[in-house]
Structure formats: C-alpha cells, structure tokens
Amino acid sequence: MTQTFADVVDETGHDPAERKLAIEEAAARVITDPENSRVAARLLAELIADETAEHGVRTFSESIAATHAAGLLQDRLADFVAANAEALDALVAPDADDRFEYFGLRTVYDRYLLRHPRTRRVLERPQHFFLRVACGLSETVEEAAELYALMTTLSYLPSSPTLFNSGSRRPQLSSCFLLDSPRDELEAIYERYGQVARLSKYAGGIGIAWTRVRSRGSLIRGTNGHSNGIVPWLRTLDSSVAAVNQGGRRKGAACVYLEPWHADVEEFLELRDNTGEEARRTHNLNLANWIPDEFMRRVEADETWSLFDPKEVPHLTDLYGAAFDEAYRAAEAEGVFVRRVQARALYGRMMRTLAQTGNGWMTFKDAANRTSNQTARPENVIHLSNLCTEILEVTSDAETAVCNLGSINLAAHLADGEVDWARLRRTVRTAVRFLDRTIDLGFYPTSEARAANERWRPVGLGVMGLADVFFALRLPFDSPEALELSTRISEEIALAAYATSSDLAVERGRHPSYDDTRAAGGVLHPDHYDAARSDRWTALRERIAETGLRNSLMIAIAPTATIASIAGCYECVEPQVSNVFKRETLSGEFLQVNRYLVRDLSARGLWTPQIRDAIKRADGSIQDVPGVPEDLKALYRTAWELPQKALIDLAAARTPYIDQSQSLNLFMATPTIGKLSSMYAYAWKSGLKTTYYLRSRPATRIAQTTVTRAVPEAEAESGAVACSLENPEYCDACQ
C-alpha cells in the first residue's frame, strides 16, 4: 500500500471502529506521502463532528450551551455567547479544519477539546474550541473575531494553559510561575511546598530557587544538630510535584535553580543520575545552574572557587554584577567558606551532568539581571528563570513571578517568498492586547502570584516555525541571510509589541510598578546592547517617555512543544531534529516527515522508496544518501548536523530584542566534556541569558524492523570490524 488512502476514505462509512482504523493506517503512512497526514486529519475531523453530534452539538453556540450545562464554563461566557449567538456562529470558518495536520488535530482532540464529565465524549469541535478560547478573552464580538481569525489560520496561538482554561470556571491562564527560594527555616520550606502544589494543580510549570537553604553540615541552633543539606528537601519536592496530576492532562513539572557557590552544588548535580543511592535522586525535578559571571571568569582563568553555606552569606543571592563580585570576594577573604574547589573541576562536573542527563541547564544570573527592565532598583532581583528558561522576572517572598505566553507562527506570515511584515505587526498587536487581557481574567492559585502579576503585568510573546521560514525561503540555518532575517523578525516583533503596550498604557493605564523600571528612566531593553539606534526606536522611546508602558516585559521565546504541534510547524526558533522522526507524547506516537524536503525531492523525481528507506536507515539524515543534490543537503541538515555555534549566534543576535529570554536547546550527538565546555563558554561570552536542554543521542539503538537490511558487506567479509572509536554512534557495524 503505497498510494494515499483516498480509497480507504471513500469506503469508510460512519462506523467509528472502522474509521479509527483507517485514521491510524493513514497516519502511519505519512512517510510514504505526507498528504496522508491530511487524509487522516480529515477523517478525524469527521469523527469529532459525529462525536459532538451525539450530545446534540453542531454549532458554536450549541457547544457553549452543552459545555456550560455540563458545568465546565463560567456563566459570563455562556451569557456572552447566548446574547451574540448568531454573530458568533457565523464566524466559524467551515473549511478551517483542513488546515490541520493529523498530529495537530489529534493533539487538539486528545487534550484540548472539552469533554462531557461522565460520557467523556467531546462537546466541542476544533473551531468551537478556538472560538471559545477567543470569547473567553473578549469583551465584544469584534474582539473575539480578531483573535479567532488568528487562531483559525494557525497564525498565533496562546499557550496551553490559556487554551485549556479560557472561559472555564477556574481560568488559570498562565504558563509559568517562578518562586523565590524558601527562607532558611522549616516553616518557610513547607509553606513553599504548599504553594508549588497549588500552582502545579492548575497546569502551571514551576521554577523554584533553593539557594537560600543551608547546606549539609550547617549547625541547626534549635536542636543543636547538623543539617542534612538541600537534597532531602528536594526529594520531598520531587514527590510532591509527581503527586500533582494536572487534571490528567499533564504531569506536574518543576525546575530547581541553585547558584554554584552553594556548598551542596555537587550533590545537586547528581540528583538526576540514574545510578547511585535512590534516596539522593530526584527523577521528576529538572535542574538548572544559576551562574554568576565571577564563576565563569574563574573557570576561564583556571582559579579556585569557594563554596559557602548560605546561612553564612545570606546576602549573596540578592546581589548581582559588581556588587556580587565584591561581596563574594569579601566572604572569601573572611574565610567563611565551607571548602574550595577548582572552578574548572566544578564546571567539568556541570558539563558531565548535561551530557548524562540533558539537565543542569546553564543560565546566567548577571546577564539576566543586568538588562532586565524590572531590576532598576537594587532590591528587585531576578533569582531564577522558569521551567523552560525563557522567563526572567524578579521574585521575593511576597511575589511569585507569573507569565502569560503566546506564540506567533512565523510560517503563517509568509507571502510571495518573503515575510509579510505588515501582517506580522498586526498579529503582534492583537497578540499583545490579548496577552495583557489574560492578566486581568486569570485565576491565580496563590496570592503571591496575583500580587506580582498585577504589579508588573509581564507577558511573553514568542515565535514558532522559524525553521519553516528558512526552509520555505531556502536559507540554510547557518547562513548570514538566515541570521539577518531572524534578527529582523525579532526586532519587528519587539517594536510592535512595545508600541502596543504603550497604546495600552494610554487606554488602560501603566502597570503599577512602572516607576521602578528601567523604561521609566528612558532605557529600553535593546539600549543595553546599543541596538536601538534607528529612527523607529527613537520615536518609540519618545512616545514611551510620555505614555509609559502597560507591561514591564513583553518578549520571551517559549519552547512551544505542544502548540507548534497544533499549528503544524517547527518548534520556536529550533532547527529540525530529523527529516523523519516520531513524536512521543501522552497521546501516543506519531510519525513526522519534513514536508519541505518531500516537496523538493518529489519535484526532482527523487522521492522514491529507495531514498525513503535510505533516509530512514540514516535516522532522518540525507547527508549520505546517494543521489540527493548538494543544495538540498545543505538546506536540510538536522540539528545534529548543524554547527551549534550557528544556533548560539542566532540567539545572541536576537537577544537585544528579547527582554526576557529564549528556550534555547543545544544538540550534540556524542558529547564530550571538551566540546561541551567550549560550547557553553561561548554561549556565556555571547551574552546569552539562558540555555535550555542539552539534547544528545543514545549510544545504542533499536534494530529497525521495517527497513530491509542485508549483512553489512565489510562485516561479512572480514568478520570483526573495528568501529570508529571516536564516534561509535555513527558506525554502521554497531547498529
């Protein structure tokens, strides 16, 4: 069966089991022809329509009536829709579902559509879902139409919590929560567990610092005993996070941040190891290093590094830049450290953790604080980033930082072989207005989160589909043209976002802490990089001086894992991982194939079964596939084949226009300490504020079942063949 599934589709009636089978068959055949993905999606859309019809749902207003009657929606939304039923029903675009790839629609079906509490049947269709989200954030039909138009064309999508909860009775719309380290006392630690659990329950990702808590061996005055350090506390946090199930839709997830002068840092770096004592492991927590420049300088100079008990130096975590350097050196001079290590030895240990677990993200405290709009006053300090390392906001005991996110699908903003800049700016304006709206409509699980969000009103507008843009315009990821375009996109987005926030300040007022920001002093984020000298920035700066801003922060590039699936584009600013790969998610596994590559190969008559098998055999790489032209090889390199320097350079070039940060994954198939330490030192020097996962590949792999492979020639002849010692992963004999 190599043709598309048109025949199957025609024969498939309304029998659900038969249709399900046809969907799965078509979906599994996307590798032969990516069009099968659309076929599967179309079948699934029919299945969904039939399913909603069981509860009498055909139109949007009927879906709202049904979900409201089932107790899933707030009265305000139900009343709004009832009052405007005709106008809203007319908004639903009849063929809009055709824009979905199968994986996208399947994700929507499995996880986003509202279901009847008892029958578990879906009560809304995909377009109803988009319009429900839009109405949940709107005051008028016109507003709803504006946001719906962006969503239905997959041009912009709010983040998952907003998609899940907009219009619901408990509309928790925020993606990320950042909690300051608990104070160094028992009650404060347990109080934090409670906050984490409450925030986690409503589908928020948690970042939490732990730098203030005393280290192992520290004296506990109350009992005259000695502390066991941070690991047992983090074990408890680990269990607590795992126990919270986000409504069955996602598992709770958290990332713990620690500064590398904390005396327990080495044990911290072992928390994710899969060997060793289980009592000292946390399999559910993510880990990140919150690194001051002083540490990196000492690594470079090959000097010693002092580890402290925070009880002795409680002020360090609230300082950054020169003030931190001075205080740190003073503490060293006083001799209050617990012990000293070679800075490079600790840095090497960090690299090892990254290679072995992908965790232990490198995030840079000074770069994060130095340019943040929120840190104009010395008492406002950023102590950590979030679960995905793209949010940088100040925290304190009284304020839990929050961020509401949404991402623009850049692939949907192309026209006639270039970016449609005017349309991009329009999308930004709509997106920022609705992100700002979520701040007021959101339900906050803790008072600390509400307090912070109302005062600072930060939002995080991001992008997805950058790789699609490069493919569509045929720009290799590491070309100068790609760098220029990517930077221009970020600058345009920043300009439009700031202008919109300035408009909002006029309409609805500045955010209450505006006077505490750097913007109030006339300094905008790109000014720190001398990257705002054009007339447009000058004009904008002058305008903001008059109006102020509605939002303290506006730009953050989130990983977009799930919403990029819905939109059918590549994730955020990432290169593709493989030309053929499968996605593993809670809904199962899905095959994905690079449709741009298929288009190009088909056009040249090269999308043959032989070449398909060769690409699969090569794990989605086309570099060594005979017959593939060189220009395609250059364009369709995978993340494993691109120089990582290019990823870092692109990220660094857009940093001036990213006032929070970006979730930047780095890829290395076979990491070594030498390569990693060079790479992260370069990232730091390039001024990146944060990095995210280090992705690497397994040393051995599963034997392929569906690709016919005869005996490797050389092996058959000579018996034993020595693998390449440097790179056994790519040695054929090992596969």
Partner: protein
C-alpha cells in the same frame, strides 16, 4: 579462532575490537528500572476491554520468564564457547542487562497485578499456560541441544553451537521478543500503556544489540571457518525459524482470540513471517515467506524519537562521558 576451545585471557593485541566497542556502547546506555514511571498505566488498564486485558495479562506472563531463559543460555553455553575475552566482556554486560530486564518485568507484574494470587499465577505461567509453556519448551530444547559439550572440537560440535547461538538470537530474542514488542507498540500507538512502552523501548534497544552481537559472532565464525556453513546448517536454521514462527503464532492465537481492532492473528502471522525473513536475510539465507510487514505502527520504532520532556522521560542520554574542560574545541 573464535570457537577454538579454551579460556583465552589476552586482550592485547585485541583480536576482535568490534566486540569491545559493543561492550562500551552498551555501558553508555545504562538505564535503571527506577526511571520507568508506570503510574499512568494503571489508569489505562482500568479502562481496557476484557479482551485487551487478557492480551496484556498473557503478555506480561511471558515477559516474566523470557529474559531469565535467555540469561540461562548465556551462562550455560555462550560464555563457555565464545572464546575471546573481549566477547566475554560483552556477554557479561549482556547478562547484566538481562537482569535489569527481569527486574523491570518483575516490577511491572507487581504493579499490574496487585492481587497476590494472580501474581503468583502469572509467574507460574510457564508451567500451566500452554501457549507460554510451548515457547519455553522450544527454548529449553535448544538450551540443552549441546548436551553438556564442554569443548567444541569437531565441525559438528561447532555447528551445534552455531544453531544454539542462532536460535537464541534469531528465534528467541529476534522473533519471540519482537512479537511481544509489537503488542506493546500497538498499545502505544493508541496512546496506551506509556510506562510499559518506555521500559520496553529500552529493553528493545538492549535486545537489538544482543541480537546484533550474536550475528556478528556468526559473521566472524563464517569468515574464519566458512566450511561450517553448509546447506544442511542452512536448512536446519530455516526449519528452526519455521518452528519458532509456529510457536509464536500459537501464542498469538491465545492472546488475540477472535481478534481485536487493529490486531489479529492473521496480521500477526504476516508480521512474524516478515520478521523471520529478515533474520534469514541477515544470516545470508534465502527468504522463506516473502511476506510484507502489515503493522504500520512498527514504522514508528524505526525513526528518531522526539519526546516532549514534560510528558515522557527521555531515553536518549549516555553515561560515561569523556574528556576534559577545554575552550577551543569545535561544536
């Protein structure tokens, strides 16, 4: 030569560096049972139809003993007769991996079958469930096929050993296990039993390596003593493969009953025949069945995985990373 009797202890100069590299690669992929999260499986199990539940129960009953049998043969036959220290290093590592698999399936059964009596019954499946007993007997017959031979002196001795080696690689790890994996991936393709699938992925990865190691031993012997590979041996291997397909099919009939949506005995037959053909091709023998793979979902396990980190634990990391801090390496 590799099958010459004895206990070679000399690692330098190394005769078969490929075996040593396989040993090192295996170590880099160490995983532990504690990393597998089976929690979500319990909810899936509670929603299954009785037919699906029956399939799963039988399947885990097979898993309960399969890896122990492989480990037994490794100790009783392979380790004794593959005479190169670097090959024995690999086998030692394989033995450890089999132990991890046994532990994984033990944990799985304890989790899936909370009822004490059911659990005991599952572990005893090899004695009282005919379809599982028959497969086990097939294995035992081949474990004993060398009849206590301690030295492979004659060509016939060596052929007997090759049959044992090929049986465990091609029929047991390469067919029985592949059959079992197909059921797991079938569930996973429908978004079910993610914990089992994660563990199975890692088991599958290990088993793939075991099979490839055994085949490369065969390749080595073929290069050193081509005269061992006569038509009779080929015919014996093909017959053995046929027997294995039949045994696995009887198991499939027990599991699938009248068929489930997307999984039936007929499809399983095609799949097993397809897999058996692949093993024969790998052993440079003619295809026996000429059947195509019916399971589209098995395509999924042939390509790179990209898990969403918040949803699945990712198995793509390595241990034993090498090197020193540097600032001038290319990346």
């Amino acid at each position: 030569m590799l099958l010459d009797p004895g206990m070679d202890l000399t690692l330098r100069p190394m005769r078969y560096p490929d075996f040593y590299e396989r040993y090192r690669a295996a170590i880099r992929n160490t995983w532990t049972v504690e990393e597998v999260d089976l929690n979500s499986d319990l909810a899936d199990l509670s929603r299954m139809t009785p037919e699906e539940r029956h399939l799963i129960n039988r399947l885990v009953a097979f898993f309960a003993t399969g890896d122990s049998i492989v480990a037994n043969n490794l100790v009783l036959n392979l380790y004794q007769h593959v005479n190169a220290p670097e090959a024995r290093l690999y086998l030692s590592r394989q033995l450890f991996e089999e132990a991890v698999h046994v532990q994984f399936y033990l944990t799985l059964l304890d989790t899936y079958l909370p009822d004490h009596e059911e659990r005991v019954k599952a572990f005893a499946a090899v004695e009282h469930i005919p379809s599982i007993r028959d497969k086990a007997e097939f294995c035992f017959r081949w474990i004993d096929s060398l009849g206590g031979l301690t030295r492979l002196e004659s060509q016939d001795d060596r052929r007997a050993f090759l049959l044992n080696l090929i049986c465990f690689a091609a029929c047991i790890e390469g067919l029985f296990f592949y059959g079992a994996f197909a059921y797991v991936y079938w569930f996973r393709s429908r978004g079910l039993l993610g914990g089992l699938a994660t563990g199975t992925n890692w088991v599958f990865r290990d088993e793939s390596m075991h099979m490839e190691f055994a085949f490369s031993v065969v390749d080595t012997v073929r290069a050193e003593e081509p005269e061992l590979f006569d038509d009779r041996l080929g015919a014996q291997v093909t017959r053995m493969m046929e027997e294995a397909v039949e045994a696995e099919l009887a198991f499939a009939a027990d599991l699938c009953g009248d068929g489930l949506s997307g999984m039936s005995v007929g499809q399983m037959r095609q799949y097993l025949e397809y897999v058996a053909d692949q093993r024969l091709v790998r052993l440079q023998l003619p295809v026996r069945y000429g059947t195509a793979n019916p399971f589209a979902f098995m395509e999924l396990q042939d390509v790179q995985e990209l898990a969403n980190f918040f949803e699945r634990r990712v198995s793509a990391y390595q241990i034993a990373v090498e090197g020193n801090v540097a600032f001038d390496e290319s990346f």
